[in-house]
Structures are given as structure tokens and as C-alpha cells.
């Protein structure tokens, strides 16, 4: 019998959510999506790949010819968008929705992740764990909050990383995720997965060992900053902001296993964000996110149609919002720690208050690594 009961109080909102989630038990969500939407069109995928690489390289050329340093930051953000688009293509490849050729998908995925120096298989396997455990308080790998008692027990560095990347440094939240998922094979339970990660690390390190010295030789340390580090941070800014908004919301709790269900996590625990059309093009519909969680193998260009089909089958189930900075502000202002009393979030201030510390001292339960923000 589990000894941990969270949250301690079941509010009407929480009960409604759990009731709606449990109502999906036994449903075959994927059946709502027409089968023709599963078919990849490689040419359309390649258009996305080349468009993103062109944006990335074009922005670097722009940095080179920029008449004034004040243009660097916006150009790094453009390069970041290019690199983030490439990440989204690698994401397709990781789910094998880019083409039916698995080897080609893995090759292209690694090429798409080179601007980030991100080992493809590390990301892929960690991301699969996220899909299998979305918003599980014990098991999710991405943006999982910790309890106040766990936060207080962290070392100073983990605490600093957790606190900053859930507030003012949210735009760097995925840097630590890259470190864990890309370079720590021991995070993964399957031996073959760990070995694939090791091979991806070798490929990434070999590329970096050629690319970075060549870049520094040709452009100097300033070139390293202008053409690699600035864009790299820019990619993480897009990566962090997008994924945080998909998976952190004051209205969507992380659930313990007695409340969590796979169907519920797929259909009701992520948020879709509407962007301007051009931004959907360059981010390859990554923010049409619920349909992607329901059937990860659907190619990105079919996700809007898949979402419409899901909306017809399950009216009001998908959470869809317009992206605004106000929404981002709400998340970084208050969605800091798991609230053991009500099951949603409490801000950091609560970590020191009686209210938050009432809960589980002596039953930390969730790993210190959970304190580090993930995708």
C-alpha cells in the first residue's frame, strides 16, 4: 500500500480534473484521428529542415555583416529560431515521423541537433520517457516540480539552478536538461538505450572537436561568441520558453500515480499555443502539442488536422490558448513548487512558510534530479 498520499486535500477543481481524466479510461484516443494523417511526406519534412537551416545560417551571416552590435541580440534570437526549428525536425526524427526509414531519421536528427551540440539518442530516449509519463509527479522527465521539502533539502547549486530557471532565468531552463539527457547515459533504464547515447556522444564530441577549433581558428574567440555561443543560447531560449509553456500551468497539476492516467496525460495535461502563421511554419507546429501527445508519430504538417479531429471527438478536452507574454509571466511568477496540500503550484515564498511545510517531511520520495528543470 503506498505510504504517500498527495495532494492532501482534494479541491473541487482537482476532483473535476481527475474525474474527466478517469472518464477517458479505456478510450482509444488515436482512433479519433484519420489514418491518412499518419503518412509522412518526406519532401514537406525536408522543406522544414532546409528552411530552418537557412534561417540559422542566414542569421549567422547577418551577425557577420551587422553594422552595429545592437543587432547581435535580435539576430541571435533569429538564429535561435532557426536552431529551434531544427530541433523540432530532430523531434520528428526521434518519433520516426519524418520518414519511414529509421536510419535516415536518426541521421537527419543528429545533423539537425549539431548547432546545439546535442547527442541525438540521449534526447530521443529521455523524450520518450516524457511521453510515457507526462505530468506524472514521480516519473515525468520534463519540467517536473519538486515539493517545498525537497527544495529546502537541495544543495546550494541545485537550489540556485532550480530557482532561477523557474523564474528569471526560465529561458535557460533546458541547458541543464541538455546536460542530463544528452550526456548522462546512466539516466536511462535500458542498456541498449544507454549504449546508443554513448555513441551519440562520440559523434557530437567528434563534430565539436573539428567545428569549434576551426571556427575559433578562422574567426577568433569573438567568432566563437558571435557565431556559436550567442545562437546556442538563442536556441535554448526558444526551447525553454516553448516547452515550459506546454507543460507548466497553474491550472494543470502534476499527478501522483493514483490520479494519473496515460490517456489523461495525453489529452488533458498539456497546453496548445496559437502563434502567428509564420511562427508555426518555422517551429513546425510544435505548439499543436496535444495531438502530438495523443499520437507522437503524426508528422508535424498534419497536426492541425489531427487536432481538429480530436476536438470533434472530445469537445472541450484540449487546452488551447493564444501565446502572450502575460501567460509566461503567470508561470514564472507563481508556478514554482508542487503544492502538497492542493496538488497544483505554490511560489517559492511558500517554501519557508508553515503552509507549505505542513506536508511530507521525512518522505521526500522524488529524486534530487527531479529538482532540475527539464523540457
Amino acid at each position: 500500500m503506498p505510504t504517500i498520499q498527495l495532494p492532501e486535500q482534494l479541491t473541487p477543481n482537482f476532483q473535476d480534473l481527475v474525474h474527466n481524466i478517469k472518464a477517458l479510461d479505456g478510450e482509444r484516443l488515436a482512433d479519433a484521428i484519420p489514418k491518412e494523417l499518419y503518412e509522412p511526406r518526406v519532401a514537406r519534412g525536408l522543406l522544414g529542415f532546409f528552411a530552418s537551416y537557412a534561417l540559422y545560417i542566414g542569421a549567422l551571416v547577418g551577425v557577420h555583416y551587422a553594422p552595429h552590435w545592437s543587432l547581435y541580440l535580435p539576430l541571435w534570437l533569429v538564429a535561435g529560431l532557426g536552431g529551434w526549428g531544427l530541433f523540432c525536425i530532430a523531434h520528428e526524427c526521434g518519433h520516426n515521423s519524418f520518414s519511414t526509414n529509421r536510419r535516415f531519421n536518426h541521421f537527419l536528427g543528429q545533423v539537425a541537433l549539431l548547432p546545439l551540440l546535442y547527442p541525438f539518442h540521449g534526447w530521443r530516449h529521455m523524450h520518450n520517457l516524457h511521453h510515457a509519463n507526462t505530468n506524472s509527479l514521480e516519473m515525468d522527465t520534463d519540467w517536473r516540480p519538486v515539493l517545498p521539502v525537497q527544495y529546502r533539502a537541495m544543495g546550494w547549486w541545485d537550489k540556485l539552478v532550480y530557482r532561477s530557471t523557474r523564474s528569471w532565468l526560465f529561458w535557460l531552463g533546458t541547458v541543464n536538461y541538455q546536460r542530463h539527457s544528452g550526456f548522462k547515459p546512466s539516466m536511462l533504464p535500458k542498456l541498449e538505450a544507454r549504449n546508443e547515447v554513448r555513441r551519440s556522444i562520440v559523434v557530437t564530441v567528434l563534430f565539436a572537436a573539428v567545428y569549434l577549433p576551426a571556427l575559433i581558428y578562422l574567426t577568433g574567440w569573438q567568432g566563437f561568441l558571435l557565431y556559436f555561443l550567442g545562437p546556442w543560447v538563442g536556441i535554448h531560449a526558444w526551447f525553454s520558453t516553448t516547452t515550459m509553456m506546454h507543460h507548466v500551468s497553474e491550472e494543470l497539476p502534476f499527478l501522483t500515480k493514483e490520479h494519473w492516467t496515460l490517456n489523461g496525460s495525453r489529452l488533458m495535461l498539456t497546453t496548445d499555443y496559437n502563434y502567428p502563421k509564420w511562427l508555426h511554419f518555422f517551429t513546425h507546429n510544435i505548439s499543436v502539442h496535444t495531438a502530438h501527445h495523443v499520437v507522437p508519430v503524426i508528422p508535424f504538417y498534419n497536426l492541425p488536422k489531427a487536432r481538429e479531429a480530436l476536438k470533434r471527438a472530445y469537445p472541450n478536452a484540449i487546452r488551447e490558448k493564444d501565446f502572450t507574454w502575460r501567460e509566461v509571466w503567470r508561470v514564472i511568477r507563481s508556478c514554482h513548487l508542487y503544492d502538497p496540500v492542493h496538488g497544483y503550484y505554490v511560489p517559492f515564498d511558500a517554501a519557508d512558510s508553515d503552509h507549505a511545510s505542513k506536508g511530507r517531511s521525512g518522505q521526500p520520495g522524488i529524486s534530487p534530479e527531479g529538482g532540475v528543470p527539464h523540457v
Binding site: A132, E138, P189, L191, N195, Q363, G365
Partner: protein
């Protein structure tokens, strides 16, 4: 030629070798947990009582999370890091995991 490069790649990346340890059963899990606990406490495995609570052995949360992490690799599947808090002793935990494994096999 392909296997030469494959072997080279495995060597360069320090690939792990598969340990052939037979099928995972409730008994083998109980034994593994007892050995892991004995190693942690630096005692002989014979003195481990599989019915005694983890708490009474003085396991702290960091060790509990480490054990859950090691167990993931034995079972080759993701497990809750809170496992040793959710189950009181080795017998309970081994029975629970064996049940989960049987369930997973039925689904597969």
C-alpha cells in the same frame, strides 16, 4: 568491414556489455534487493531480514533514490524514485514489482 566499425564504435563509446543474469522473478528481485541493501549497509547479506522496514534500516532518501535508479537498470524500465517510500520492505517491494512485470507482459 561494417562489424569492424561497429566494434570500434562500441569501444570508443565505452559501450556496456549485456549481463546474462536469467529471468527476473519475485525471488530474484528479493535477492537483488537484499544484496543491494547489504552492500549499502556494509553487512553480510545473510543478516538482511526481507520483512524488516527500509526505515528501520536507516535508509535515507538519497540512498532510496539511488536504489530505485539501480533497480531501473535491472528491470530495464522507468520506476518511481519514491518506490522505497511507497513499499515498506523488501518482500512488499519485490511482490509489487513482480506483479507489475507480469502485468506488463500480459499487455505486451
Amino acid at each position: 568491414m561494417a562489424s569492424f566499425f561497429s566494434n570500434l564504435f562500441n569501444k570508443v563509446s565505452f559501450a556496456e556489455q549485456q549481463q546474462n543474469s536469467g529471468p527476473v522473478t519475485e525471488a530474484s528481485l528479493r535477492q537483488w534487493l537484499a544484496q543491494r541493501l547489504a552492500k549499502q549497509l556494509k553487512v553480510d547479506v545473510a543478516v538482511i531480514d526481507t520483512g524488516r522496514t527500509f526505515e528501520s534500516y536507516g535508509l535515507d532518501s538519497i540512498v532510496a533514490v539511488q536504489v530505485a535508479g539501480d533497480l531501473e537498470k535491472v528491470l530495464e524500465q522507468r520506476l518511481s524514485p519514491a518506490l522505497l517510500f511507497e513499499h515498506q520492505n523488501i518482500d512488499d517491494l519485490a511482490a509489487y514489482l513482480a506483479g507489475e512485470l507480469a502485468l506488463a507482459e500480459t499487455k505486451a
